[in-house]
Point group: C2
Chain length 390, copies 2
DNA sequence: AGGATTAAGTCAAACCAATTGAGTTATCAA
DNA sequence: TTGATAACTCAATTGGTTTGACTTAATCCT
């Protein structure tokens, strides 16, 4: 009898873990805070908050950040997160390379690396990753605080999904328990996620989504993916493949075509190649965009309605605080796309009382997904969760 | 300083409430269960489960359901939910009528009622609803167990959404706190939800979604809406309007049109009217469908690609266990639509290892949304939640 | 038939963490 | 200087889970 597993039962220890996350989460969002303030916001008693803060300070997560002046009574002693108190290791597996990054609680990269591989053979990769971790730990310039865990990014979709044979997959990994393999090799907690979700999380830990808890991230990888964060955690759907927007039909030249054949880096590269331009790297793309290369501008023109359509769907189906575009495109191009993509007027997101843009550019860079892999782990320790069933 | 509220802190009492929900949730899904079995599934100790079961039996929620035979050691004493142990009151507000229902934990209707109103004036409606509750309580044939709360269904979208002026809204309620007004008038906990979400929940409490915890529900009301259940609870998005699929463009006669102008009851009625058929009620529609009326069949033909498109989007964006169609259409027509809507092959839901249909017809009926309103409350008491931040 | 094994369940003590209420300290305001 | 206000601490209490020893009842094996 394999019933879906219930969420884990709660006891005193799990309560404490949850409440610790609550305290950390508040300090992360609100900045340096006093005990009483956190108690009010969380519904906990001052005493409980006090005990937890004592523990967090003793363990190095929080440090005393001065007294709050100006008020009426006793000035509050405030505490802030020590960004250097912990780190997370991020790994991104691509068909031809393995990337990794070590980031701290503030999302700052302490170390990054990249190794080209001829084939993404599982056994080989796992061993390589283990070496990369050792290198990262010994070669970081600053002293590395405790490593909270590792995140691994692989191109989705996962499992048996009916999308087999599509270009977004990594050959040789079908049916393997990547999570267990990496956990074993690295000897730490490991989270496996697809690139779009990881990239989305990177923006939350340190990026344009810093203050957001529910948003969608349109990720330009090879194809196009959608990362979803709801209530501060990733929305995965029943089988872990929510956000597979690449195959959704979008308008193109009077007809409908899968979004990833229109608005993806692959589509862009193809269009440029047809025009006689081999653009292999982001730098190439950046140059062509700066030159306002006709083929580039034509691609943008063609992709615009499709992106608008995608934004429309995402807004009305998820009702997010914002939609973010990011990934493996030049920053200026992303910025341009967010500024010129028409925002559908018939959308639940077109609110009268908005005070935030509907469409944002990710702070990205080529390594968003790699950073995101690590960010997954950071976010877990800074966001309370008792684990709901899926 | 209005920071987004943190989820409530956890303490012993909240833990108990959560664990009670866990136990009830297990018994709901798995049927009569013994202490040890629940303990294994929930991660709680047998003793904890034992204490909780003792409490639940004392309060009437569970009853002893015999011993489990056949096993090795001491046969387990099993417990099952007493469906009559609690009830919930559901209210549906329509522009021209107020519907209500009293249902028990198993989703059985103990009482239903319908009152035509000339205008949905808030003050008047609130008073009326209060009277309807009194009537329901005194007129039900069976004795009515404790009322756990009330659910109210109003056509969404809520708040200031940029969709003002659209037909899905209820005039006169803008800017009012319906939740507080009904809670005050009925003197009980009140949940307000849109029709699609409520209908979705009706299918989970007693319907085709009984065993599911993540699914999407395409709801045919006047327009068309999408109700979303994820992990056993409703997915609302950042502002409560997730699932507004009616305005999403869908293919129609070679072009793109908003889905609700193609595949909605309103669209169907309009098409029939053009063909000289005034179909006001579900019975009318049922008759025309049975006759295979040409206008009806033509509408179905036209709606099919749009519905397929909608299913495609929903599957790939939410990756649900199933998509359900239901609402204010004749059961036979719904059944026909689910059987003949082409299922997109390029979808994460087209899994090789599926053992459940991708598309299902709701067990529906005209009063799905009303029942759903009450089902919201039932589901809350039977599904554990510590309240995640939004 | 009878002992060994297995599993469900109870009881009482220990334990963990949050709450409660009384008291302390530091700032502002009159 | 004094009173009001607010943050915080201390110690006792409370609520709920876990732990470990024990009991009970079924099947399995000889």
């Amino acid at each position: 009898m394999s019933l879906p597993l219930l969420p884990p039962g709660s006891n005193a220890e799990r309560s404490r873990a949850y409440n610790r996350g609550l305290v950390l989460g508040h300090v992360r969002r609100a900045g340096a805070s006093g005990r009483a303030e956190i108690a009010r916001a969380s519904g906990l008693s001052t005493q409980a908050v006090s005990n937890i803060i004592g523990e967090l300070v003793a363990e190095g997560w929080l440090y005393e950040a001065g007294r709050r002046t100006g008020g009426r009574g006793l000035p509050a002693v405030t505490y802030a997160i020590d960004g250097a108190a912990g780190t997370a290791f991020g790994i991104e597996l691509r068909p031809n390379a393995v990337l990794c990054a070590l980031i701290d609680l503030d999302g700052r990269a302490l170390y990054t690396d990249r190794v080209a591989v001829s084939r993404a053979d599982p056994g080989h990769v796992v061993q390589l990753v283990s070496q990369l971790l050792d290198r990262a730990l010994s070669n970081s310039r600053t002293k590395v605080a405790r490593v909270l865990g590792a995140g691994v990014v692989m191109p989705g979709p996962f499992g048996k999904t009916g999308l087999s044979g599509f270009l977004t997959e990594l050959p040789g990994w079908e049916g393997l328990d990547a999570q267990a393999m990496f956990a074993e090799a690295l000897d730490m907690a490991v989270t496996v996620e697809n690139d779009a979700n990881a990239a989305a999380m990177a923006e939350r830990v340190s990026g344009v989504a810093a203050g957001l808890s529910s948003y969608a991230f349109l990720y330009f990888g090879t194809g196009i993916g959608l990362g979803l964060v709801s209530g501060g955690t990733i929305f995965r759907g029943a089988f872990g493949n929510a956000g597979e927007i690449g195959h959704v039909p979008a308008p193109f030249e009077g007809g409908l075509r899968p979004l990833e054949e229109i608005a993806s880096r692959m589509a862009l590269t193809t269009a440029l190649r047809r025009a006689g331009e081999a653009a292999e790297t982001v730098t190439d793309l950046d140059r062509l965009f700066e030159q306002r290369h006709p083929a580039m501008m034509a691609w943008i023109e063609g992709a615009r309605p499709a992106l608008s359509h995608a934004v429309h769907i995402v807004e009305n189906l998820y009702d997010p605080e914002a939609v973010i575009m990011g990934g493996a495109l030049p920053a200026r191009l992303l910025q341009h796309l967010t500024e010129t993509t028409p925002l559908p007027s018939v959308s639940v997101s077109n609110r009268a009382d908005r005070n935030r843009p509907r469409l944002l550019a990710g702070t990205a860079g080529r390594m968003t997904a790699t950073h995101g892999a690590a960010a997954l782990v950071i976010n877990q320790t800074l966001t309370p969760s008792l684990g709901l069933a899926t």
